[in-house]
Symmetry: C3
Subunit: 200 residues, 3 copies
Amino acid sequence: MTWDIFTVVGTIAFAISGAIVAMEEEYDLFGIYILGMITAFGGGAIRNLLIGVPVSALWEQGEFFTIAALSITAVILFPQNLLRHWPVWGNFFDAIGLAAFAVQGALYAEGMNHPLSAVVVAAVLTGSGGGLVRDVLAQRKPALLRDEVYGVWAALAGLIIAVGGAETPAQLIILFMFITMLRILSYKYSWHLPKRTVKF
Amino acid sequence: MTWDIFTVVGTIAFAISGAIVAMEEEYDLFGIYILGMITAFGGGAIRNLLIGVPVSALWEQGEFFTIAALSITAVILFPQNLLRHWPVWGNFFDAIGLAAFAVQGALYAEGMNHPLSAVVVAAVLTGSGGGLVRDVLAQRKPALLRDEVYGVWAALAGLIIAVGGAETPAQLIILFMFITMLRILSYKYSWHLPKRTVKF
Amino acid sequence: MTWDIFTVVGTIAFAISGAIVAMEEEYDLFGIYILGMITAFGGGAIRNLLIGVPVSALWEQGEFFTIAALSITAVILFPQNLLRHWPVWGNFFDAIGLAAFAVQGALYAEGMNHPLSAVVVAAVLTGSGGGLVRDVLAQRKPALLRDEVYGVWAALAGLIIAVGGAETPAQLIILFMFITMLRILSYKYSWHLPKRTVKF
């Protein structure tokens, strides 16, 4: 139940983030809906594909589609001066989505007895795969691969679940809050991973 | 039988459109064939993936591969002054492909008892998914997400089929002609969906 | 056994090539690992998808993941003056990977009694699909579609296997060496396929 609330928050955050990227790129209304839906559901679809759940399991999430579509509609109708606050609120919601989706993705993969590497990948892809596809379709360099620390927190959630570090509902909620907080701190204080560049 | 003709026309149109994008981007011969084939068959592959048909069902369409490969070869050999007419003819053929593929994709998904949302998505992806992958591989912003009204007509076809608005072969042919016509009008009169942009 | 060595060499070469592209694009450490892993395993994942093997078969390759991760770590730690030699050595290793993966992909598809076209596609995708995804995620025009002759050699390997031109281990090793050599020559002498461009 509590968990469902986080998933709803995450779905809304991801749908809105896709819609806003489409608006920034001057895509049309159809493009805004498509990019919003792909950002919200793309991560789960890729995760299903990689861990061996039929991708078509997507279609059982009827209410989530409705929630995502309504969120996108709301963003389209929002006056510009309300949208201005998105970068602040958006990152807060997005952090909740990242953490909730990462935890769920990892639990999913672990429930199928996949090895540690698959659990971590499932956490990362469920948490951030939608944003990756969003960036590719908007012709942007994927934020996941170069901006503030993001995917690493999803990987950390996966790792902790894979080694049995969080199992009871209470432990999972604590893990969720911990990951959410780390992501918010990363954004707020512009934490970056080191880079190693090369030129030939 | 009539239906097969539309599919053939659509396959040819999509294969040629991929080949021409590759030629515009100065890809080599191998790239021209690959992009042509991906545009012709990519939409169906993604649809299969999302609605739960094995993607490998692709390989049963032997003759269509041959047709697509021959079309691409023809385009490569065409003199430049014939190719000049492509933007006009190409959009006509492409409209037939969009409508034929959208109707087929929707029927496919409906035959598997998927919910309305899946039927609409299957129509959109089968009709326009190949063009989406084509644009990503050519490093272009997807035309589907921002140019004249395109994907919406595929979605409309899916919606009409999902609510039982076209079931007999005669009704389906009428739907097909209706969608083709709407797409041709969109292109001819540069119909655009509204945009909602945002800047931060 | 011999075969395993080639696969290991190919995995290392592909992982390093992805990591180096990420470093060139100034992606962060997380991005470097992700792009390296996707380049090493993406081709096999796409091939599995298209020929009907569960994509989740990926997770059975535990040691290869470790090898790829260690290779990426090594590249990150390498001093700049050693990395300078990568373009030369890299192409040599990459040619081994292309040939080894193409042969394996083709054998895989043939073992499932797929038609000739699927065997050729499996060879091309296993050999070069990882590089294709790498380029899309780095926002580059795919090298596969326009640079020196590359994918054609994978297709040739697939074709020879599909028509029964190489079946015994000895024949397969000869085919592997032949394809590796053709790719090295293509790079060394800048062989290009003809292009056919068009402007409207």
